[in-house]
Structure formats: structure tokens, C-alpha cells
Chain length 406, copies 2
């Protein structure tokens, strides 16, 4: 048999198509290589960061139904780096015969209003909420005001949280307002419907990662604690330092969500712990920042597991490989490019596992992460933070991300 | 700053050029991606397996001095997938200003005759040996006969091992002959000089992986036991089940070899244990099959470490992440293509870490490996073997590699 090369038509073995060429696509490709899975990426532009390490990139818009369909026709299964995709095209792609995983019903859960309504209807624990549409509902202000009147008192500072149901990420599309500020904000607002909830007093935030394959197998990883800075995930700690009852409740919720959203692949359930109760904050129907710690920290990483799940292969064990693991994000800045500073990070923390995404630094842009395995969360956190600080460099007085962490 | 893409000139951060596009280049590239290191591969043909997963491949022969020089001029450091390279060109490349790591003096140790002479001269433990050149030495037969007369009795069956000093691998270029067979063999032999040694009674074979950076830091991994089938590495066990004295002696030899060969990067020292003594069999001046188990089994894999070493970055810890880890090679056959059978392997061993190299199966061709982490070497070996058997498939009666292992 002659040596063959990956081509559009000739690759032996499974071909996974990924819509979007960001860091999630890049890390999925890293996981695909050893598994002998061929990855093809649909990227909107030449510059998306997966293209640096994936030879097989097709340029096309995820909003272009024809581009999506012709891309999907060349792969065995279609999956996602992000959910901003033409859903009608996905319906057609499934009719054409290429499985879309997660499916369209699951992707719809990227809408935060849809999530809240469906989870509440399924009896899953969610914060008090109401959905308003300032653009189309005539009574939106009275509904919002009534909600603020009723729930503002649940919080120390009387604030209500407003979340855009679509399009927000990393703290964007989230506002915290007092009851008296609602009218002016809503009068000016022109975006997607809003989910309102009280600004709860949080003991901590957790995330449970879940994988499900089409034939039904479900696995969860040990629950992770996430630490947010300015609405953006800054650290993830594996395992979360919580008691077994709370951890079990988080995993139970994760499994119940898998059924409710009819999940295929890996997804993350972000959880609030408030007043001793575990409540669902939101889900991300895909691999997630809170799961990057599984790359080194777990017997099976979220990325390998996602590929196994969307191909309906047997799922892998999710046990941790070390007593403690901590991940810290590398957030861009005006300072130095981390891609010239790895040696400094490794000098600061020789055990640091660096992950740089091939993205240029910009303020508030996630451009990498660092994971450290060890015997205590505190020492792992300190080592990861030291590596991140060395990667970012800068003068330290211009708002370097993460230096606020104790 | 605008988004940028890897190009010949524009990549921000370190660029490592790898001569050769086989599985070692492929796994180096896998390790380079998260570190934010750009990899450029010089491949002899379009079909070399690293090309499936590395976008930046230049086609050119490693025997073509001009191809090597122009390739080297575009990277920050030059390293190797294999040692079959024009050494004169490497001298010129260093003069041109691109570091060659490992250096030319180290690459010369790929010659088995050179190894034996230098190690013996340095007082390192090697088996009894003699080097003959049947093509150029008039007295080669009498030297060989005298060696066989003296050392044939050291072995149970009176055999002498003859090894081609250059060009052999995976059992090729090695012959075992009785004293009476030498004359006919040598009369017909037309290859490189031969190293002769007694066929020692081996208790086991070990390998010690060593990394050294130009500024001097040396680290070793815990010693590995290698199990050979038909002269080819079949399994690697981490850690080798040997007593601490033997393990310490192996690591001591590894460090001494690093100095003797003036190593830069990762290299492997293959060792015999015979009559309670540790003897150097041979070294490979690069990442090595015996070290694939470090990808999941160690805090720092041999591939990440090699990149760190050739860039003169601080080296990482080499501690094991599990009490036991076992790697089994996937060797090609006439049977099925493993790239269609991953689901069967994962059903047989859900914890198996599959590594397929993008190579079509052929008899006696290494096309992948499987690693399993766990609490006992025996259970890891059994799980890895089950996964490999499922990957290879076939009828089981046509010489499937590895099924002979107990």
C-alpha cells in the first residue's frame, strides 16, 4: 500500500469538521492528532488561530448556509468551536446526511432565556428569573420593575443582573443595575431579549463538565471551582474544594442537564453556590474554559472526550491524575507577547504546562492558559500564577490581569 | 495589532526546524503547539506522516546540502527526526548562524562503532566488542574469528552478534552467527563497518532518557524497561521494575553519557542488564521509542523537553504522574487499518491513550503506540495490549505483532 496524505477525499479514518477556528478548534485538533482523527476547520478568515496548526482549513462564514453545507459534505461529523451558526443550514445538513453534534436542539440552549425556561420547566434548580424583550414587549419595564422590587432585597446591594440572552461572553452582555436605573437602560437597549436575576450573594462558583455520546453513555468529571475576575473565568481548580454532598449535587445536576438538553459531546454547566444551594447559572453546549484543566489533570481531557463522543466512541475515564490541578488563564494586555516569554514562565515555574493559542495580545483577550499539577490547590495556584505573570510581563501597574488574586 | 498567521517570515516567537517528517517530527509538533513554538518540517516527500498535522512543510532531501542550508536559514534552531543527514551541510549551517541541536559531534554517535570506542575510552560500561571493516580491512576475518573464539563461550549458544555501525534500526542490520558461519557471511558483506559483541545472556533491557540544555542543565527520567520482539521495541514500562541500586546506576550512566557525547536535547541510552551489571547497548541521539510513555506518564514528556532543551529553556520535572505506565507499539500488518478501529480499542480499554502516526499499515512497520496509566505494570500492560490487539484486528493467526507477549 502506498503512503497516503490527508486530502479532501483520501484520508483514511474519521474526519471531524469543526465550525470556527478559535482556540477551542485548535485544542480539539491537538487532541485529534494522536487519535488518528482528521480535522478540517471552517474558519471565517485566514487569521483564525487554529490555522497555524491545522493544515486542512476551509475559509467560509458560519452564517453562509451554502459554505456550511459544502463544508459538511466533506466530513463524517460536524461539530463546533462556537455556536454563532446558521441553524437553518444545520437542519439541511442533517437532512443531507452529515450528523451535527451537538444537535440543533442542544445548540438552541446557547440562548440564555431558552436555558432558564427549559431548566425551570424540568425542575432543575435555577435562580429566580424573568425574561423580557425590551424591543418587542410593551410591558417590559413594568415586568422588570416588579422583578427588581421583589428580588432586589435578596442581595446586599439591591442590584439586579441583566444578561443578554444571545451574543454575550466573558462578561460582555451582562449589566448590574439598581431598580432606579432600569428605565433609562431599557429605553436605550436594542439587543436580544434579557434574562433578569437577582445579584445573588455567592459562596463560590462551580462548573461540572459532562460528556454524552449519542448511544447514551454519560460521564462527568469531578466538579471544578471557577474563579471569575471582571466576569471572565480567571482560574479553574480541580477538584473544587467542596464537601462531597455539594460535589455530588453538582454532578447530579450535570447528568440531569445532559438529558434535558439532549446533549452530544462535551458541555459545561456553570453553577452558583448561594446560601448552601447549587443553582444553574448557565450552560455552554461545547468544550469550555473551565475544562482546560482536564488536558493534563484528567485521565481523559475534555477535548479527546468530545471527539470520542461526537464519533459515538466509548468514553474515557475522568479520574484526576493528581491530587490537585489548577488552571489560570493568560489574558492579553498592552504588554509583551507571551510567545517570546515562555522561558521566563518556565524559569518561574518549571512544572507549568503552557498553552498559548497563537493569538496576539489585546486587552481582555484570552490568549492562553497555564496548568500546574501538584499535591495542593494553593501551591498549584501559586505556580500557575507565577508562570502567567512571567508570560504577560509588563510593568505591573497597568491593569495586568490576575495579579489581584491572593 | 492585527491578527497574524504563521508564515515563512511572520511568526512571532520561536521557530524550530525539524529535519525529517516521520512520527518523531509529528509528536514534536504535537508538543510544540501548546508551547507556542512554530514548527517547520523538512520532509523528503509529500507523503511523510508529519505533513498531515503540520501546515508548514518544506519538501527537500536531507542529503541535499543546499536544501538543508536554505531550510535552516528560516528557523531559529535546527533539530532532527532522524540522523541520516549531510554532516558537512550541518557544519556550514552552524557557520551561517543557525544552531544545530544536537550538534554534529553528538550526531556522530549515531555510528555504533564510534559509540563503542568513545564510551569504552571514557570508562563507561560496554559489552566486550571489536570493530571490523570487511570492505577495507585485510585482517577482518582473523579478528572476527579471534573474537568469536574468545567470547563465544560467554553465551549459552556460542553466537556472536554483528551490528552494522550505520543504517540499522528496529532489528535491521543485526545478525547473530556462530563462529563457523563468520567466513561466508563476511565474504559476502558489503556494508558499513561492523561491531561484534558476544550474544550476552540478558536479564532485561532498560532505557534511560536524558535531556540536556546547552547551558548545562541535565535531567533524567526514571529508568524504563524495554521489551523487544524480533529486535524491535515492543513495550516500555515506566518505571522499570528494578531495585533502586540498578535504577541509580542506569541514571548515573545516562548523565555520564550526556557529558561524553556533549548532548543537547533529549537522547536515549539503551542498556543491557547482564549478570547483574548494567552495560550500554547503544544510544539514540534524539527522542526515542522508549520515551513515548512519557507523553502521558511523566510531568514533562520527552517531546516537550526536547523542544525546551534545544531552545535552551529551563527543563521540566520528570516525575511520573502515576504509579505505573506501560506503552505498547502498534506494528503494521496485512490486516486492518487501525485508523478505522479506534472505537474497538477504546471499547477494549477505555483508559487507553491511542497514538496513531498517520501511516498505512505494512508488516513490521511501527504505525502507532498505546499508553495506559494505572497502579500496576501488569494491569497497564494487559490493557495496552488489549487496545493494540483491537487496533490491529486480523485473524490472529498470521503473525500479528505482539500477541506473543505474556
Amino acid at each position: 500500500m502506498s503512503e497516503e496524505r490527508a486530502t479532501a477525499t483520501g484520508f483514511p479514518g474519521p474526519r471531524v469538521g469543526i465550525v470556527g477556528g478559535g482556540q477551542l478548534a485548535r485544542m480539539l485538533a491537538e487532541a485529534a492528532t494522536p487519535l488518528g482523527i482528521h480535522v478540517r476547520v471552517l474558519a471565517a478568515t485566514e487569521g483564525e488561530c487554529a490555522g497555524e496548526v491545522v493544515p486542512d482549513v476551509v475559509i467560509g462564514s458560519p452564517d453562509d448556509a451554502e459554505a456550511l453545507r459544502s463544508f459538511a459534505a466533506t466530513v463524517d461529523v460536524l461539530t463546533f468551536d462556537h455556536e454563532n451558526v446558521d441553524h437553518d443550514a444545520l437542519v439541511q445538513i442533517e437532512r443531507d446526511g452529515t450528523p451535527v453534534r451537538p444537535g440543533i436542539a442542544t445548540l438552541r440552549f446557547a440562548d440564555k432565556a431558552h436555558q432558564r425556561r427549559e431548566f425551570a420547566a424540568a425542575g432543575l434548580p435555577v435562580p429566580p428569573f424573568v425574561v423580557i424583550d425590551p424591543v418587542r414587549d410593551l410591558d417590559h419595564l413594568s415586568v422588570a420593575d416588579g422583578f427588581a422590587a421583589r428580588y432586589g432585597e435578596m442581595t446586599n446591594d439591591g442590584l439586579i443582573v441583566l444578561k443578554a440572552s444571545r451574543g454575550g461572553y466573558d462578561g460582555r452582555g451582562v449589566w448590574m443595575l439598581g431598580r432606579s436605573e432600569l428605565a433609562a437602560f431599557l429605553a436605550a437597549y436594542r439587543g436580544a431579549p434579557l434574562v433578569l436575576e437577582p445579584k445573588l450573594a455567592l459562596e463560590r462558583e462551580l462548573a461540572v463538565l459532562v460528556a454524552r455520546r449519542p448511544s447514551g453513555q454519560i460521564v462527568t468529571w469531578p466538579v471544578v471551582e471557577t474563579i471569575q475576575v471582571d466576569g471572565m473565568c480567571d482560574e479553574a481548580l480541580l477538584p473544587a474544594p467542596v464537601d462531597v454532598t455539594l460535589a455530588a449535587e453538582a454532578e447530579r445536576i450535570g447528568r440531569a442537564v445532559a438529558i434535558t438538553v439532549d446533549a452530544v459531546g462535551v458541555f459545561a454547566v456553570e453553577l452558583f453556590v448561594s446560601d448552601g444551594q447549587v443553582l444553574i447559572n448557565e450552560i455552554a453546549p461545547r468544550v469550555h474554559n473551565s475544562g482546560h484543566v482536564t488536558i493534563e489533570g484528567s485521565m481523559t481531557s475534555q477535548f479527546s472526550q468530545h471527539l470520542r463522543a461526537v464519533l459515538d466512541w466509548p468514553l474515557g475515564p475522568t479520574d484526576s491524575v493528581a491530587p490537585a490541578a489548577s488552571m489560570t488563564n493568560v489574558v492579553g494586555d498592552d504588554a509583551d507577547d507571551p510567545r517570546d516569554r515562555q522561558h521566563l514562565a518556565l524559569a518561574a515555574s518549571p512544572a507549568a504546562q503552557l498553552h498559548l493559542y497563537g493569538k496576539a495580545p489585546r486587552p481582555a483577550r484570552k490568549i492562553g492558559h497555564v496548568t500546574v499539577l501538584g499535591t495542593s490547590l494553593e501551591s498549584c495556584r501559586a505556580e500557575a500564577r507565577a508562570a502567567v505573570d512571567a508570560l504577560i510581563g509588563g510593568s505591573g501597574d497597568d491593569g495586568v490581569q490576575g495579579s489581584s488574586d491572593g
